[in-house]
């Protein structure tokens, strides 16, 4: 399908902001996308791989990036959104700085994962349905089995693994990262 991004023919309709929510300017977004699209161009079954690359680079999939990607791949925007809203992996909102992933696989579930999640929501003041704290510092994800069932219950913070977690450990774990953040700020 021939879609021309900009076109010299006739007069353009007066429009609002071109990029939509996301904040990033189209040129900056294109610069991020170029190498990813280049790497995967010509390979069949590349859409999800490209989206992974995009999410890795930007932390989530801003609308501006989805629009830009649709142009670059000559793929309807609706296709991009159908895919990124279907798969849990792709986030449409900026992530928290510290991502706490609590495993809810069977073994962890049996050994207390729901209680750990409740405690985390209490300590982080995070209502049901929300995953990022108001200050953007923490994000709570309930994830599927991480495959460390021998260490149940397991949670990770930005990949750092905490095994055999007890509900009482939760405030300390969170505090650990608040302190780390404060330390970072001081530098």
């Amino acid at each position: 399908m021939n879609r021309e991004a900009g076109c010299g023919v006739v007069k353009r309709e007066p429009s609002g902001c071109a990029c939509g929510s996301g904040g990033a300017a189209p040129a900056a977004v294109r610069a991020v996308l170029e190498p990813i699209v280049q790497r995967w161009r010509g390979e069949e079954g590349n859409l999800i791989m490209i989206l992974h690359g995009l999410q890795k680079a930007m932390g989530y999939v801003p609308r501006a990036a989805a629009l830009e990607l649709a142009q670059m791949l000559d793929v309807p925007l609706a296709r991009i959104y159908e895919v990124i809203t279907f798969y849990n992996y792709f986030k449409l909102e900026p992530p928290g700085k510290y991502v706490i992933a609590v495993c809810t696989g069977t073994a962890c579930y049996l050994k207390g994962a729901p209680q750990i999640i409740d405690s985390l929501r209490d300590v982080l003041d995070l209502a049901e349905g929300r995953s990022v704290t108001a200050d953007g510092l923490f994000q709570l994800d309930e994830v599927r089995c991480l495959g460390c069932c021998g260490l149940a219950p397991v949670l990770t913070v930005n990949g750092e693994v905490f095994g055999r977690v007890k509900q009482g450990d939760v405030p300390d774990i969170v505090e650990q990262f608040r302190e780390r953040e404060a330390g970072v700020k001081q530098e």
Binding site: I48, F86, Y89, L146, G147
Partner: protein, 624 residues
């Protein structure tokens, strides 16, 4: 490098270097063979417990003592004994160190590797205290490791070690001496059935794809293992990725495919990395690519990632996902073997199914058929977890009984609790009550009991597990992961979950169970794919064997296992309470009013049943 002679030379050299590890003795070791091998478990479980640091520390310490020529330190795949990780095994003396910490490294190197004396306190001991070496350990007694043969033995990031254990010999035979039909005939004799859960005869799938005429065909490895509590496939990919690559190439030859994809969950970071390395090395050694082992055969393999959708473990949803669509299943027929990836004939096999292939080709189908039961040949890898002493990854011949698995391999139930049931097949399976412990495990027997083999998750449950809660957990998983395409699964799952929530919260209506059964019928008959068709299994199965628990929840508003929080409360046993006030401090919602003088009590309205008060009380004064 691409010739068979080159490969043979590499293989010979590797076998020589690894002699003492592979033979388990110094006797007859060739020149240049390592005297000792230090095998450090490098599966995700142990890696996340400082496994990587352990390996590096051992490596450095060995070098520092100048033992680099004599002692080889490697990371291996999962040993399977996850309960005791991190594990370090020393060959050839089979010393089996458990729960090793980086602080222990210095002592191991000094005392054992340099001094020749194993570190007693770190050695694995059976429950009665006796030291057991590798080969004697009860955990492994009933196991037969075919799929996992290399896990815990070789370095998955070094193809030469795979070659040393006869890796790629099967592929060589297939591409140089065998026709496609012959390979499939061997599989037919072997009787291998799909290990992803459906148990479809593998030879049939390959034959259907071989027969379908097309210029372009595909081999796809389903590595989207998503059953909660299952990590068999992950361990194979992390511990022996070349087995999968070799099998895919063998399949390609059998059906006439040129391109293969491994569709792996994005969450399996270590597996993805190990695959990447394995692919690089496979290409470099000519066992994949444009001209495999000089035979003229062309086969390429690439990795494609999932993105957090369990349903993409379903064959046709997986194909949709690779094609860049929403992972919704396709109606069948046509089946992937006829119309698959990009509409071309495609074989999709599970990781474990594939990992059996090279060994079957090397040892022959008849050898494989000699293991297991008549309907279910070979072995099965299980992830044995839950309320069991030896939680870990095991591989037993089909036909091993549940009792043998739970007690002889698993070591029985901890904390003196009574076994209640065993759950198999993940969210598609059912529970098997303790009365059926002597059932030999195979595809048919489990199905008859209302469960299924599934991919290999096996969860042991004791008296403290609530069957309603378990059913709700699994169904909740399916509801979250439902793709939403078909009404029976999308809506039925949700409605059934609502019913279960009501039951666990004491709000159930009298006709709740008939309603559940009605939805179960619609889902099992009218869902488009296996996810929907089997999502009701845990519910129906727990209803079958534990109906009295459901009745207690509904009629008596009681949860005997004390898992359903709305149905029990915490109280302070005043006679035992010493009014220390510890519970008050720990309570996250300030639900314990009172004071030292008049005493404390728990305000049921505020209490969120977190259990902290009970956990912290030194006088056992809080009861449920």
């Amino acid at each position: 490098m691409s010739t068979r002679n080159d490969l043979a030379a590499v293989r010979a050299a590797a076998k020589a270097a690894l002699y003492t590890r592979l033979q388990g003795t110094m006797d007859g070791a060739p020149e240049g063979a390592y005297r000792r091998h230090v095998l450090v478990c490098g599966g995700t479980g142990c890696e996340s417990c400082h496994g990587a640091a352990l390996h590096d520390a051992l490596q450095q310490a060995v070098e520092a003592r100048g033992l680099g020529r004599e002692v080889k330190v490697i990371k291996t795949g999962c040993f399977g004994f996850c309960e005791k990780g991190p594990i370090v095994k020393i060959m050839p003396d089979l010393s089996f160190y458990v729960r090793v910490k980086p602080e222990d490294v210095e002592e191991i190197v000094r005392e054992h590797l340099a001094g020749g004396k194993p570190v007693e306190r770190l050695l694995y001991k059976e429950e009665d205290g006796t030291v057991a070496r590798g080969g004697e350990i009860k955990f492994y007694g009933k196991q037969q490791r075919i799929v996992l043969r290399n896990c815990g033995l070789i370095n998955p990031e070094d193809i030469t070690e795979y070659l040393a254990t006869d890796g790629y010999e099967a592929l060589e035979r297939v591409v140089t001496k065998m026709k496609g039909e012959e390979v499939i005939a061997e599989l037919k004799v072997a009787g291998l059935r799909g290990r992803g859960g459906a148990g479809y005869p593998t030879w049939m799938k390959w034959e259907n794809a071989r027969r379908t005429k097309s210029e372009r065909k595909y081999v796809v490895c389903n590595a989207d293992e998503g059953d909660p509590g299952a990590y068999m496939d992950r361990s194979v990919l992390e511990g022996d990725p070349h087995a999968v690559l070799e099998a895919m190439a063998i399949c390609a030859k059998a059906i006439g495919a040129q391109q293969g994809y491994i569709y792996v969950r994005a969450e399996y970071g270590l597996a993805i990395e190990r695959l990447r390395i394995a692919l690089e090395q496979a290409y470099a050694h000519g066992v994949l690519g444009e001209n495999i082992l000089g035979s003229g055969m062309r086969f390429h393999v690439a990795v494609r990632l999932g993105a957090g959708a369990f349903v993409c473990g379903e064959e046709t949803a997986l194909l949709e996902s690779i094609e860049g669509h929403r992972g919704t299943p396709r109606p069948r027929p046509p089946y992937p073997a006829n119309v698959g990836l990009f509409q071309q004939p495609t074989v999709i096999n599970n990781v474990e199914t594939l990992a059996n292939i090279p060994t079957i080709i090397r040892n022959g189908g008849a050898w494989f058929a000699g293991i297991g039961t008549e309907s279910s040949r070979g072995t099965k890898v299980f992830a044995l977890t839950g309320k069991v002493k030896n939680s870990g990854l095991i591989e037993v011949p089909m036909g091993t009984t549940l009792r043998e698995i739970v007690y002889d391999v698993g070591g029985g139930i901890p904390n003196g609790k009574a076994i209640k049931a065993i759950q198999t097949g993940g969210p598609s399976g059912g529970v098997i009550p303790a009365s059926f412990l002597d059932t030999p495990v195979d595809y048919e027997t489990l199905k008859e009991l209302g469960s299924m083999m599934g991919s290999g998750g096996m969860i042991v449950m004791d008296e403290d597990d609530c069957m309603v809660d378990i059913a709700k957990f699994y169904l909740g998983f399916c509801v979250d992961e439902s793709c939403g395409k078909c009404a029976p699964c999308r809506i039925g799952g949700y409605q059934m979950l609502e019913s279960l929530k009501k039951i666990s919260e004491g709000r159930a209506q009298a006709d709740e169970v008939p309603r559940i059964r009605r939805v179960g019928l619609a889902m099992s008959k009218a869902s488009l794919c296996g996810l929907g068709q089997t999502a009701a299994n845990p519910v129906i199965s727990t209803l079958k064997y534990f109906e009295d628990e459901y009745r207690e929840h509904i009629e008596e508003k009681k949860c005997r296992a004390k898992k359903c929080r709305a149905l029990f409360s915490y109280t302070i046993v005043q006679e035992r309470c010493k009014r220390c006030g510890l519970c008050v401090k720990k309570c996250p919602v300030e639900a314990i009013p009172g004071d030292r003088k008049s005493g404390y009590r728990i305000d049921a309205a505020k209490c969120v049943k977190c259990g902290q008060c009970m956990a912290v009380c030194p006088f056992n004064a809080v009861s449920m």
